[in-house]
Amino acid sequence: MQRRACVLAILATGTMAGPASAYTAYVSNEKDNTMTVVDTATMQVVKTVDVGQRPRGITISHDGKFIYLCASDDNTIQIIDTATLQVVGTLPSGDDPELFVLSPDGKTLYVANENDNLVTAIDVDSKEVKTEIPVGVEPEGMAVSPDGKTMVNTSETTSMAHFIDTGSHDVTDNVLVDTRPRFAAFKPDGSQVWVSAEVGGTVSVIDNAKRQVVKKIKFAIPGLRAETIQPVGIAISADGKKAYVALGPANHVAVINTETYEVEKYILVGQRVWHLDFTPDQKTLITTNGNSNDITFIDTATDEPVQSVTVGQQPWGVAISPN
């Protein structure tokens, strides 16, 4: 009898295990000009809404009330109310906005303008451009330090990470990284900036104090040609112990130990994995897979893919509600 109860308990645990908290994930679909709303608990699409042309960069205000979405071909940033999912305003982004980052105080949005070789700082409340900062050719990756004092932009053609003082809006340091850097992410303690190089196939770890590359992380997936490994999106866990790097056409996400810089695992996801983000409880990581038109949920406790869900055409970025 006891044994039977034990078996039943194991079965119940097996079938009932799943994500604990429900958040809402918003996915920008580059090709069909839509945004997909996904419930992270049920892992199902709740709604798909029409947005501006070629939606790419996507982020959410710290209070979770508004989504900021780069409508690249409309040369604007749309503000979407998360309660109604209606576009309630726009921000003057400059030409072809692709990626941006919201300052820790939630007041300034720093936007990379790929065609103008500029980084635009926009005041979110007044919806006005505060300043434009000239950077390298084809700026793309954007990151801001946890204290809000330093902003980093990567320029794809110049292959540099530009460190910008958010007070003076001056470029203070330029750090050369590998070819075509597309994304930058600060460690939660602000000590390092991780920059992915799409063509170089590496991630450069830059010391924020010294402004020097302290480590270059390389990737090798058995059975895959090196040129298919193109690192793009980076997500570093809140405790700073693990970094997840989306490897583009390699269809895998690399899990890196941030102390040893060793790749501990490669997780199989959909085709051309581009960006990724954690749920606020850090239990789940969601990746956008551009060529297979889906997103993959990864359990961060086991680093195993749990489920893939079809969204719109060419999902590009993902933002998850903070509550």
Binding site: G14, T15, G223, L224, L268, T296, P305, V306
Partner: protein
């Protein structure tokens, strides 16, 4: 204990008068047949090794080579992308059952040629029971081989959900019974051991390749709708899918129905065929003169 001693075990039950069998007698008979099959398997180390090596070669070499070529889309029961090794593992379990089932049938032909079958058939138990016992013996050996393979696959990084290894047992049993029954039916039609090569070419290979064991059926449908229909008409297709779903704690009811139905059909056919008074075996014996 040596293998030749085993027929004596079966012979022990022969003095029991017909109609006076209790449940215990049936169990003794079953035990005798199963132990004989297990011992035969254990004594043939080459058979054990080859039964393990065959699926492992597919897993280690074939799957590695085709990992990039045959990208597998998300199809039930999978909820996300899986490596090719993971996809073909249920198919390789099916392959073990298929080869093992056919090997059992081979042993029936061998038994008949060597005269061992006479000892089995002179037993006063009903013929259907003897054949069922023989099948259960064959399936027990097959399932042991499957689990040995799954252990090696686990260390190769092919991991199903832990409970899946429990859930898959009934699926393996049912599929194994179906394939053993098929082998039994076929063995009744073979005159001599040499004809077994025909079974390889006309049953095992077409059955294996025209199934979702190595590639999903939608890929076959893309290539040829006719071939797709042939795959759907192949009972082995349903055995593989039954095993695949069971690994993830799910029941594919269509596969379950087809496998159960085919098992009854093949078993019924084998019982009729092995009945010397009216089955195929009579005609074969009359023509071939063996056994």
């Amino acid at each position: 204990m040596s293998a030749p001693a085993m027929p004596e075990k079966v012979a022990v039950v022969t003095p029991v008068k017909s109609g006076a069998f209790g449940f215990r007698h049936y169990l003794i008979c079953l035990k005798g047949v199963v132990i004989r099959e297990c011992l035969r398997f254990l004594h043939q180390r080459e058979r054990f090794i080859s039964s393990l090596v065959r699926p492992l070669v597919w897993l280690f070499i074939f799957a590695a080579g085709f990992r990039q070529v045959l990208g597998v889309s998300i199809i039930p029961p999978y909820k996300t992308y899986v490596l090719y090794e993971v996809y073909i593992t249920p198919g390789l379990c099916g392959m073990i059952l298929l080869f093992s089932g056919m090997q059992s049938s081979l042993s029936m032909v061998y038994d008949r040629e060597m005269g061992n079958m006479r000892i089995l058939l002179v037993s006063p138990f009903p013929r259907w029971y003897l054949l069922l016992s023989k099948m259960l013996a064959g399936v027990s050996v097959s399932i042991a081989q499957v689990y040995a393979f799954l252990i090696v696959a686990w260390f190769w990084g092919v991991n199903a959900p832990p409970l899946g290894y429990l859930f898959v047992l009934p699926a393996l049993f049912m599929s194994g019974m179906m394939l053993c029954a098929l082998g039994m039916l076929l063995s009744s039609m073979i005159k001599q051991l040499e004809n077994f090569a025909g079974i390889m070419n006309f049953v095992i290979f077409p059955g294996y390749f025209a199934s979702p064991a190595l590639y999903p059926l939608w890929r076959i449908q893309e290539a040829s709708p006719l071939l797709y229909k042939l795959c759907l008409a192949n009972p082995f297709t349903y055995a593989v899918e039954l095993i695949r779903f069971a690994f993830y704690g799910q029941v594919d009811w269509v596969s379950l129905g087809v496998v159960a139905g085919c098992t009854l059909l093949f078993l019924g056919g084998a019982i009729v065929a092995y009945d010397p008074s009216r089955g195929l075996i009579t005609r074969k014996q009359g023509a071939g003169g063996n056994g």
